[in-house]
């Protein structure tokens, strides 16, 4: 019974095997340049397996532990793409911890395995185990530089992550206590059959729901669980910051969307309640993120707060998704499209930052002055990504925001969209502060800044992706709509 379904988790198994192979090879070879090649091959093999099983009808495996559906597979591809881009971008950066390259790549891939399992998990137990698998690898990666800041970041991430896990488990325990089931669809069946009309009549469900949102809120860095973001982003190796800000966040949104939509999607009073929690948190999240980002002088901290603000926009999409349940409207793929666009944009920006700061050994924005003269292409790539983050044409950011905001307006969240648009304007200020420094500032030295070919490749892939999503979004919208169709009724 287990063997006949083994092909559906082949992507995870193959990636795991490659990670173990890297650990082993690292012990016996001296030529470390083989390791990134091997890890990229591993990710490509896993992606091939995903494409092979792409068209199978949605199916729950291993007694409803893992589900194979377009939603999960889309996220898996997204996570793999982010992993490959981060590995390419690490080409020069890993020289900072030359002795531990094997561990670096292996942990990165193990964390990717965890995230891939997380987005396809349909059981509270698998969700928790997958979450821990990815988190524990990331705790180690965050403290990889072993200097003061990096260790502090790692410890902070570990402690706060542990607290968040405990809160999540507490919430899951309430839900399990109420329904007697851990599988999401079984819980959903119970919840839909409840004879209540209001969340206040079922306190256990209310506490469970709030605690689960809080636990996942840590992963997606929504206010008020965002405290770890700036410190961890600043202290972590820049490549890991990039990975945290996209892959970990995307998987977090994947799992929170799946849990909220399948378990708490119906009856109507229930999703109205949580969608309103998410909507209010979204408004606070983006406002806090954007306002604090304005005063930042360190580019990694700035991107930390920017990623909090972006999480706010994504939560608008999540709230809109929740409100569409039980109505005639189709669930929109706004959130998924935004995640796709955000992943490419943010990674592109980070790859440029990694290449630049590796040369100039600084993360301060004022050291980016006149970067256009020192490295025209890197500055141009970073500028395109900044334009996309601010949400201006002709980039992915604009389409993603239109898509997500129109979905929210349709669902009666116009007040939230007004706040979001005001926030977009605020965010343009600090994004263009970096662009202004690069284009108009006077360079400190005339020394050229160059990147290695894997970094160029990764940056080019991101920039092309950002522009492609902005110019011909139709191609990708079908994909995102197909991904969320599993939540329809």
């Amino acid at each position: 019974m287990i063997m006949e379904h083994i092909q559906f988790i082949a992507p995870e198994i193959s990636l795991l095997c490659f990670a173990l192979l890297i650990v082993l090879l690292d012990l016996f070879i001296t030529q470390k340049r083989v390791l990134p090649v091997l890890s990229v091959i591993g990710a490509i093999v896993a992606a091939t397996f995903i494409i092979v099983i792409w068209n199978t009808p949605p199916v729950g495996l291993f007694d409803k532990m893992i589900s194979i559906d377009p939603f999960g597979l889309f996220f898996k591809l997204l996570i793999l793409a982010a992993t490959v881009l981060v590995i390419l971008a690490s080409h020069n950066y890993v020289l900072k911890f030359n002795k531990f390259q094997g561990e670096y790549y292996a942990l990165l891939m193990l964390s990717a395995v965890g995230l891939m399992l997380l987005v396809s998990a349909i059981n509270l137990i698998t969700i928790y185990v997958a979450l821990e698998l990815s988190s524990i690898s990331l705790y180690a990666l965050v403290s990889f530089l072993k200097d003061k800041k990096s260790s502090e970041a790692g410890l902070k991430y570990l402690i706060l992550g542990g607290v968040a896990s405990a809160i999540l488990l507490y919430g899951m325990a309430f839900i399990f206590g109420l329904t007697g089931n851990t599988c999401l669809t079984c819980i959903a069946e119970y919840v839909r059959g409840m004879p209540f009309k209001d969340l206040q009549e079922v306190p256990a469900l209310m506490i469970g729901l709030v605690l689960i949102i809080a636990g996942f809120g840590f992963k997606i860095a929504s206010v008020p669980f965002q405290m770890w973001v700036p410190d961890v982003y600043e202290g972590a190796p820049t490549t890991i910051t990039a990975y945290l800000s996209v892959a970990s966040k995307a998987a977090g949104f994947g799992v929170i969307a799946r849990v909220l939509m399948t378990v708490f999607g119906l009856p109507v009073w229930l999703h109205n309640d949580w969608a309103m929690i998410i909507a209010v948190l979204a408004a606070i999240t983006m406002t806090v993120g954007n306002l604090v980002a304005i005063v930042q002088t360190n580019i990694k901290r700035l991107f930390g707060y920017s990623s909090i603000a972006q999480a706010g926009y994504m939560m608008v999409g999540l709230a809109a998704m929740g409100l569409t349940m039980g109505t005639k409207e189709n669930v929109t793929g706004g959130l998924i499209f935004f995640l796709l666009s955000y992943t490419l944009t943010n990674l592109g920006a980070f790859i440029a930052i990694i290449a630049i700061s590796n040369k100039i050994n600084s993360d301060e924005i004022e050291d980016y002055n006149g970067m256009i003269k020192r490295s025209p292409l890197l500055a141009l790539g970073l500028t395109i990504c900044l334009i996309s983050l601010a949400g201006l044409p002709p980039t992915a950011g604009l389409i993603a925001k239109i898509y997500i905001f129109s979905g929210a307006v349709n669902m009666g969240l116009a007040w939230l969209v007004v706040i979001a648009v005001i926030n977009s304007v605020i965010s343009a200020y600090y994004y263009f502060k970096i662009a202004k420094a690069m284009w108009l500032g006077t360079p400190v030295t005339e020394e050229k800044v160059d990147a290695s070919w894997p970094e160029w490749l990764a940056l080019a892939a991101c920039v092309v992706g950002v522009l492609a999503l902005g110019v011909v979004p139709g191609l990708f919208m079908n994909l995102t709509t197909a991904a969320v169709r599993i939540f329809g009724i």
Partner: protein, 123 residues
């Protein structure tokens, strides 16, 4: 529904009451004069038997103990899973053998890693 939560509330009140009252009992007994208050050095000592500690308790341990502790956990896990399997080898058949083989392989990779990185050397 709420009545069921009431039991949790009663338990909470009992727990708080217990933890507050128990430490107060010696004080109450002392006030009532039931406890002799004569002092002597033996009674004032930390323990009724045993030695006085030498130095501070915050000694720095050699961090290599940590490696051994982690490796011990590794082999502990091995025992936990091998024992039930060994009891029913024939019943579990080839599938069980393969599963244990994979499990062993993963643990051995961990062991190899520790060994090659020199975690087993005390220097």
């Amino acid at each position: 529904m709420l009545a069921q939560y009431g039991y949790v509330g009663i338990l909470l009140i009992c727990a708080i009451g217990f933890t507050v009252i128990i430490p107060l009992i010696p004080k109450i007994l002392m006030v009532m004069g039931l406890i002799p208050t004569k002092k002597n050095p033996t009674k004032e000592g930390q323990y009724e038997c045993g030695m006085q500690t030498i130095g501070k308790t915050w000694v720095q341990y050699n961090f290599r103990y940590y490696f051994f502790a982690v490796l011990f956990v590794l082999f502990d896990m091995l025992t936990i899973f091998l024992y039930p399997w060994a009891v029913n080898v024939t019943g579990l058949g080839v599938g069980g053998l393969i599963a244990v083989g994979i499990f062993l392989a993963i643990l051995i990779i961990g062991y190899l890693y520790a060994w090659r990185k020199g975690a087993l050397q005390w220097k």
